[in-house]
Amino acid sequence: MVLQFAIVVSYLLLSLALLLGFIRLIRGPSLPDRVVALELLASLTVGFIAVSVVASGRAPFLDVAMVLALTAFLAALGFARYLEKGGHRIGD
């Protein structure tokens, strides 16, 4: 009973957090802001998968969380390298 309540409230909080991060992803004035918002969205999705694993009792979904964390890290590094080497500067 306690666990069911916690699962529902966690889903609600994580959905609200996804909404807030998505607002920053749309509005973000510069490209690094959007990359930070994307990384936060990936981290939130890892949390969503964890709550879903507890709710459904299907432990193999944890592999999805692991792979998602890995690809989010690689995407962040790729974006950072593109921003640094791409040469387009604000204010030029």
Binding site: S10, L31, D33, V46
Partner: protein, 133 residues
């Protein structure tokens, strides 16, 4: 019973921390403060939900996977934040107008990516916000 309460507590704490991270990324004034919110609180929230999974199942493979995810998050989040912060600074993303200290300003060559640390005999130990750019 105890395990159920522990799982519920870890799930709720992790969700609250991730909501705080999202609030920070929405409300903070510039890129570096946004990263400050999202990196630390986001990783802590995701790690707490993984702790909830490990406590809930309690079998060795699940605990191993959860520990692996937590270790991976703790290893990669600082590296990614460092890379994005560095790229943002080099791009010239504007800092918050109330920023007090910018140690790299005037000391970094954006073309050659070299750091001029000790030119003009400037005392490197001068702390305090009164430095002129």
């Amino acid at each position: 019973m105890v395990i159920e309460w522990l799982t519920a507590f870890a799930l709720l704490a992790g969700s609250v921390f991730m909501l705080i991270a999202a609030l920070g990324v929405l409300r903070m004034p510039d890129l570096l403060t946004r990263m400050h919110a999202t990196t630390k609180a986001g990783v802590l929230g995701a790690g707490l939900t993984m702790v909830a999974v490990a406590v809930h199942f309690g079998t060795e493979p699940v605990i191993a996977k959860a520990v692996a995810v937590i270790a991976f998050l703790l290893l990669t989040a600082p590296v990614a934040a460092h890379a994005i912060g560095r790229a943002g600074y080099f791009m010239g993303v504007p800092l918050w107008e109330n920023t007090q200290v910018d140690e790299l300003k005037g000391r970094y060559d954006e073309k050659t990516h070299t750091l001029a640390s000790s030119d003009e005999g400037e005392s490197a130990e001068s702390d305090g916000p009164a430095r002129e750019g």
